[in-house]
């Protein structure tokens, strides 16, 4: 396995975000090629490539596109999920900052394939830098005739609107995102009907993650076989891995899927000086944690799932021996409590109660029998809520208990800060300078 810069290949260009730079490296040729094919041929190539969603669920993109009913006389919509908010995930925002045109071209190709004349880029609100770059890229693409009316003389029309959210993790869930985009509270909808049948404005809609769409132009340009020459059979292609935490060089590492975590960690310079890996999370706080014994696991959908976790967003967080697992888990639960939209009782109430009990453990005041209670409550949330936020909230605690039960027992006597002094966990030289 190796690093395979495709999306990141030209990020060191001084103007990587400008259309001139993007076109210099073959940008928008894939769109021109696509417009010479039928929409179904485009879907066929993406299907053949085996591209799977990069937002977390890993659903095959070509298949998702093919679910949109054809010739139904209804307006179709393509909606980009750029609401990157998963704790640990930080790959879509840098992508939009450095290479927004790959996303815009992917949107144009995807919209053509699903016969949509309207696309929306839903970017989380709190990232003005990324919003500006994407707004500019969209304007440049209009000016060059890659968006708008009769694109490149093909007769295909496409309007793209850049839309900012307003601070709600739940809007990363596709149906909540659609409600939010309709100007409502971002609360998930019951499925079915799936968005492919009744999505935005009750019309057929495809919701794709930003990195997924940005990966499409290179597939059209170089072919499905080229894409499949990277990665594994079930996880083909390249992926942006954002490695963070107690590593020497945190950052974006674009590599073939299936690259072992140990290799990614090596690229990132290893753990910081004098530190030992304690636990790591392969793809956002919503997937179960792993330990150093799992470090050689290939970062693919299938291998991580076999290890009892998930690839998720493919953004590993690495924590060293100075880190309190109890504190980490408590903080994630505080997050899920804050972000639960309140629609489903198990998630709304469950996150509230678990957090309260976990905070006792963080302060060294937990009782051993309460560990069973938390576990029971997690069991009452998982699978009993509309959307995956509930399942995600029920993940960190059982995941941590599997490997670090002794630390929770210790937290019945000693506070997290006493067992693991925060000044050792921070990455700046001396806390309290």
């Amino acid at each position: 396995m190796a690093l395979t810069p495709v999306l990141t290949a030209h990020w060191d260009d001084p103007n990587s975000f400008e259309i001139t730079s993007y076109k210099k490296h073959g940008g928008y040729v894939a769109l021109k090629n696509s417009l010479k094919m039928t929409p179904d041929e485009v879907i066929g190539i993406v299907k053949d490539s085996g591209l799977r969603g990069r937002g977390g669920a890993g659903f095959p993109t070509g298949m998702k596109w093919s679910f949109v009913p054809q010739n139904d006389g209804k307006a179709h919509y393509l909606v980009v999920n750029a609401d990157e908010s998963e704790p640990g995930a930080c790959k879509d925002i840098p992508l939009m900052l450095a290479n927004p045109h790959a996303l815009v071209e992917g949107i144009a190709i995807g919209s053509y394939a699903i016969r949509a004349n309207h696309a929306f880029i839903y970017i989380r609100g709190e990232v003005p830098h990324a919003i500006r770059r994407v707004m500019n890229a969209v304007e440049q693409a209009y000016a060059d005739g890659f968006l708008g009316k009769n694109i490149q003389g093909s007769g295909f029309n496409l309007d793209v609107v850049v839309h900012a959210g307003a601070g709600a993790y739940i809007c990363g869930e596709e149906t909540a995102l659609l409600d939010s985009l309709e100007g409502r509270r971002g609360q998930p909808r019951l499925k079915p009907p799936f968005p492919a049948v009744a999505g935005l404005y009750a019309s057929p809609t495809v919701v794709n993650n930003a990195e997924t769409l940005a990966s499409v132009p290179s597939i059209i340009l170089n072919g499905a076989d080229w894409f499949k020459s990277m990665g594994t059979e079930k996880s083909p292609g390249f992926k942006l891995f954002a490695v963070s935490g107690h590593v020497k060089r945190p950052g974006i590492y674009e590599a073939a899927l299936g690259t072992p975590m140990s290799e990614l960690l090596d690229y990132a310079g290893g753990m910081r000086k004098g530190s030992k890996l304690k636990f790591w999370i392969p793809g956002g706080s919503s997937v179960p944690m792993l330990t150093p014994e799992h470090i050689d696991i290939p970062m693919s959908y299938e291998d991580l799932s076999a290890a009892g976790t998930m690839l998720g967003t493919g953004t590993p967080m690495m924590f060293d021996h100075t880190t309190s697992v109890v504190k980490a888990v408590t903080r994630w639960l505080e997050f899920y409590k804050h972000e639960s939209c309140g629609k489903c009782t198990p998630c709304r109430e469950g996150t509230y109660w678990i957090t309260g009990v976990l905070e006792k453990f963080e302060h060294g005041k937990g009782k051993e029998e309460e560990l069973t209670i938390i576990n029971d409550v997690c069991g009452q949330i998982a699978g009993r809520s509309f959307c995956a936020l509930g399942d995600a909230a029920a993940t960190p605690f059982p995941g941590a208990m599997k490997y670090f039960a002794d630390e929770f027992l210790q937290a019945t006597k000693t506070s997290a800060d006493a067992s693991f002094p925060p000044s050792a966990t921070t990455i700046f030289e001396k806390a309290g300078v």
């Binding site: 060191d12 995930a89 003005p128 707004m135 404005y201 170089n222 080229w226 030289e429």
Partner: protein, 220 residues
């Protein structure tokens, strides 16, 4: 602090936002961002105006405004300061920076200094974990912060000295950021610094070790 009135001119802007969407209600979030950028908060008057433009009831608009954390029901100061205290940032130093900022500014979560200069907020994951710990000023990122940098940041902002965000633009005010959230392009896209060390980390290693993606028929 006196709150500005929403003018006829502003209402015209709200109309343009609504006209961008096939269904006008889709513009509600951008419109709330816009009225907040004028008034420093989503005020009852702001809610009324949005309701009128979209032909909704004020209750329907208020229900939406109260759902999203970026919309404030109290007047914000000139600068909004956010500290990420989600797990990764918190452990890497965010908790320490939070304590420091509450001490320096003498305020807590969702509170504003008496001089109206700063509003402080504990914020959730900002999708910048590779540059943790992160502090935001008017949602512009200050990456890889430490206590010394935080102290200098606040001193500069107090003096009105120029502060450049590590990912975004030169800091002005929360009002200006709000217009961007409303979908109004301020043309400052090139003011952000180029890709930083964290964004180039993988590409640099690939070049050092002579690694690349396979050559495709369309590779340039």
């Amino acid at each position: 602090m006196s709150i500005k009135t929403i003018t006829e001119e502003d209402i015209k802007t709200l109309e343009t936002l609504a006209a961008k969407y096939p269904v006008r209600r889709s513009a509600l979030l951008p419109m709330l961002h816009y009225v907040q950028s004028i008034q420093g908060m989503v005020s009852p008057a702001g809610i009324q105006v949005c309701a009128r433009v979209l032909d909704l009831t004020p209750a329907e608009v208020a229900a939406v405004a109260t759902f999203y954390t970026m919309f404030k029901r109290f007047p914000m100061g000139k600068h909004h300061i956010g500290v990420c205290t989600n797990t990764l940032c918190a452990l890497l130093g965010g908790d320490e920076l939070w304590k420091q900022l509450t001490n320096i500014l003498g305020i807590g979560h969702d509170e504003t200094t008496a001089d109206g200069l700063f509003t402080l907020e504990r914020i959730e994951c900002q999708a910048a974990c590779t540059v943790a710990p992160v502090v935001t000023v008017n949602w512009e990122f200050m990456d890889s912060m430490n206590p010394k940098a935080v102290r200098e940041l606040i001193e500069k902002l107090k003096m009105g000295a120029p502060v450049q965000s590590t990912r975004g633009v030169q800091i002005t005010s929360i009002a200006d950021s709000g217009k961007v959230f409303a979908g109004i392009n301020d043309g400052k896209y090139a003011e952000s610094p180029l890709a930083d060390d964290s964004m180039l980390a993988g590409l640099r290693v690939a070049k050092e070790r002579k690694m690349s993606a396979p050559t495709g028929k369309g590779t340039k």
